[in-house]
């Protein structure tokens, strides 16, 4: 490996690391301000989805942040199929997901 290719590779790695953080850091306070779309269903005790199947929506307060992020990503990608959640998750950035997850994770019993 020449010095030039070594330097180029190093620069590219540094750039990639800068441009593509693997995990967005969640900001709980920012997440609290982003719950408007969640609260209409998840904020109501005993609330049930009406479509396409009827069941109680899951509790989010106190849930693991990493799980909330993975659930939202799965809805966005289609690995989890739910029309309402797919539409909502599609509107969220990675930062939004991390912020919401950080907020809910800290609001358990």
């Amino acid at each position: 490996m020449t010095l030039r290719t070594f330097t180029t590779a190093g620069l590219l790695t540094a750039l990639a690391a800068f441009a593509l953080p693997l995990h967005a850091e969640g900001d709980s306070a920012a997440g609290k301000g982003k719950t408007a779309m969640c609260a209409g269903c998840h904020g109501i005790p005993g609330f049930r989805t009406a479509y396409p199947e009827t069941y109680h929506v899951p509790k989010l307060g106190g849930q693991n942040a990493g799980y909330i992020v993975s659930a939202l990503k799965a809805y966005k990608s289609g690995d989890r199929a739910h029309p309402t959640m797919k539409a909502i998750a599609a509107s969220l950035s990675d930062q939004d997901m991390a912020d919401l997850a950080a907020y809910y994770a800290t609001t358990g019993k």
Binding site: P45, K59, N64
Partner: protein, 109 residues
């Protein structure tokens, strides 16, 4: 005619018995050992941050999740093989058990 009536009644009572086959939390506890290996004691202490807490989650939501893992509607390489082995009754029993466990989860606005 009487025989036909008896057969019909027997069939009807079997159907009723099938419907009345209630979820059994105690039986669910017996079946939950493999679940708690990852989701933690009572489903409230997951071993990894991206595993969900189950304790206190609505039973019908947990059944829905297991059904979707089994059918492939919800794609997850860890849960798909676990759900394959579960009957509908197993899912109902497990869900009843975890829904009744104390834990961190709350409905949060």
């Amino acid at each position: 005619m009487n025989k036909l009536l008896i057969v019909m009644l027997a069939g009807a009572s079997l159907g009723l018995a099938g419907n009345a086959m209630a979820a059994d939390a105690a039986a669910g506890k017996e079946k939950a050992a493999i679940c708690t290996a990852c989701h933690g004691e009572g489903g409230n202490k997951p071993l990894a941050p991206d595993y969900p807490k189950l304790a206190g989650q609505p039973a019908d939501y947990l059944v829905k999740a297991l059904k979707d893992y089994k059918s492939g509607k919800r794609k997850n390489p860890l849960m798909a093989p676990q759900a394959q082995n579960l009957s509908k009754k197993d899912m109902q029993d497990l869900a009843a058990y975890f829904a009744g466990q104390p834990g961190d989860l709350v409905v949060k606005y």
